[in-house]
């Protein structure tokens, strides 16, 4: 390894640990730990959202997909994110802010009933443990590739560093370290763009080669009969269900918005993150297209990014890209650990243990953060050996997205949705999506059909069940157009 690469890596790890631990002094209560004492500014929130959003699959998987299908991969950042982010900023963040909640399951609990709150929190938490395990495994693999560290050392070192600042500094430490991580990601991405374009004869040379050799790679969408990403599935399944469910109900994403110093900062932070999303394809899609233009001889598409790092980046700079990948994974892990700890501490513990003392939330939250990290470190090797489990859990989570989104939309925009109807729609909606998935339908269409079913079921069932015990739902519904 080039000494400059090593210096960048060591400098990054030292800086992240220092910044994270410096913020530990601010944490005096659970409010400080989980919501950063509501002190975060819009630009901190925006960068932190981007950092949390770009995860393990983004770098390697998206570059590989771009190599295969072209710019259509960017739909996950554009139609599959930006509309939902704009609505999150202007509708759902003000709604959660007005409700005064710590988490999305807490909002669902207030709007429907505590059972919905616990179910939502538990499902998200179980999947998060495995997701963190996957990210830890991916970091350990990267460390093994670049530094030759054994896998268990990579997991231990990463878990210790992330654990140190997450347990000590809570959400503030997570958000501020995310800022450094996002800056490194963009720096690494821009270096690849600059060197890649120069390597292929300038911007005109790059585009001419791409257009002449792979004209279909510049189409925003793939045909409606495409096996994996048919355009109706992308627009209706991804754009109208999976993406809104992620951006309107994803605790790991929205927690930093709930930690904003004002409602305006919370909304502006999400909108700022949406601007970042426009440029994310430069980091994760462009390397795949570059590998294509440079006629990379690779065995499978996911090798596109490693090929670019090896063949485009000069010694001394490849360390930057290595750190960018580590940073992307770390920012996802720390956010997931903090948000899962919050949901278990408040949404599960406060409901299931009747006399749980809220004064102990900080201590419980820190212990749970440690336990979650240890659990994820233990599951990391399992995930690699039995990858099917994670895929299964991800599928289970996807089955909940349609029904969960229906609960959120009718709960937020109408007073009609009742607690019993909410619970039964959640249960029956998952059954409907399971049956649809079992019949071999594309996951994107499963999400859309279960969402439509759940909307209708919730509307109809609400007509036959007892209304919400709290007649005044003004703090739990979004109605800016109502005359006061």
């Amino acid at each position: 390894m080039h000494p400059l690469d090593l210096a960048i890596i060591v400098g990054y790890l030292a800086l992240i640990t220092f910044v994270g631990l410096r913020l530990a002094g601010r944490v005096k209560t659970a409010h400080d730990f989980f919501l950063a004492g509501r002190t975060l500014s819009w630009w901190v929130i925006g960068l932190s959202i981007i950092g949390t959003n770009i995860g393990a699959n983004s770098y390697v998987g998206a570059a590989g997909n771009a190599f295969s299908i072209g710019i259509a991969q960017a739909n996950f950042e554009w139609i599959g994110a930006i509309p939902a982010m704009i609505i999150a900023a202007l509708v759902f963040i003000p709604l959660y802010w007005k409700a005064g909640v710590y988490s999305i399951p807490e909002y669902l609990g207030l709007r429907y009933n505590p059972t919905v709150r616990v179910v939502a929190a538990l499902i998200t938490s179980v999947v998060a443990v495995f997701a963190i395990g996957v990210a830890l495994w991916a970091i350990a693999l990267t460390l093994q590739t670049y530094l030759g560290w054994p896998i268990w050392v990579g997991i231990l070192v990463t878990g210790t560093i992330v654990g140190a600042y997450s347990i000590a500094g809570g959400l503030a430490a997570v958000a501020f370290t995310d800022i450094f991580q996002v800056c490194i990601m963009f720096a690494g991405g821009l270096v690849i763009v600059g060197l890649g374009i120069s390597e292929t004869g300038g911007f005109s040379g790059f585009t001419e080669t791409l257009i002449s050799e792979n004209p279909n790679h510049l189409q925003a969408y793939l045909p409606a009969d495409h096996e994996s990403y048919p355009w109706p599935g992308v627009i209706f399944g991804l754009g109208m269900v999976l993406s809104p469910a992620y951006w309107w109900a994803g605790q790991a994403i929205l927690q930093r918005s709930l930690g904003a110093k004002t409602q305006w900062d919370a909304s502006a932070g999400m909108m700022f993150a949406a601007f970042g999303k426009i440029f994310v394809p430069l980091l994760i899609v462009f390397p795949g297209l570059l590998a294509l233009v440079m006629h990379a001889q690779i065995e499978y598409p996911d090798m596109a990014l490693p090929w670019i790092i090896k063949n485009v980046l000069p010694p001394g700079i490849s360390g930057l890209m290595f750190i960018a990948i580590i940073a992307a994974l770390q920012s996802t892990i720390d956010s997931s650990v903090n948000s899962t700890s919050l949901m278990l501490t408040r949404d599960v513990r406060h409901v299931l243990i009747k006399n749980a003392n809220p004064d102990n939330d900080l201590k419980v939250g820190r212990v749970l953060t440690l336990v979650l990290l240890l659990l994820s470190m233990c599951t990391a090797p399992l995930v690699a050996e039995m990858g099917g489990i994670f895929t299964f859990l991800q599928t289970i989570l996807s089955l909940f997205q349609g029904p969960m989104l229906a609960l959120l939309i009718l709960g937020a925009f109408t007073r009609r949705a009742t607690p019993q109807a909410g619970l039964w729609t959640l249960i029956s909606g998952v059954v409907v999506s399971s049956v649809t998935l079992y019949s071999g339908v594309n996951m994107l269409y499963v999400a859309f059909s279960s969402f439509i079913y759940s909307l209708v079921a919730l509307w109809v069932l609400s007509g036959f069940t007892a209304p919400h015990p709290n007649k005044d739902l003004s703090n739990l519904t979004y109605s800016p157009w109502r005359r006061s």
């Binding site: 139609i79 509708v91 925003a220 409606a224 355009w231 627009i235 004002t262 601007f275």
Partner: protein, 66 residues
């Protein structure tokens, strides 16, 4: 109609329509809601303007890559 036979061009038209709907929704939200808690009422703090720029960029993208 078989969904697998829908024309590819419709995808871009539909995307453009979705972003135009977002634009209308954004500007239907009252100003007082957008500026809730804001430190001041400066023009740059109107996040409906930010959303408009985002929508414009997306309209350009889906008009070009078709």
């Amino acid at each position: 109609m078989d969904i697998a036979n829908l024309p590819l061009a419709w995808a871009n038209y539909l995307s453009i329509l979705i972003f135009l709907c977002i634009f209308v929704l954004v500007w239907s939200i009252p100003k007082k809601v957008v500026f809730e808690d804001a430190p001041d009422q400066s023009r740059w703090r109107d996040i409906r303007v930010w959303a408009t720029v985002l929508v414009a960029v997306q309209l350009f993208i889906y008009a070009v890559f078709n």
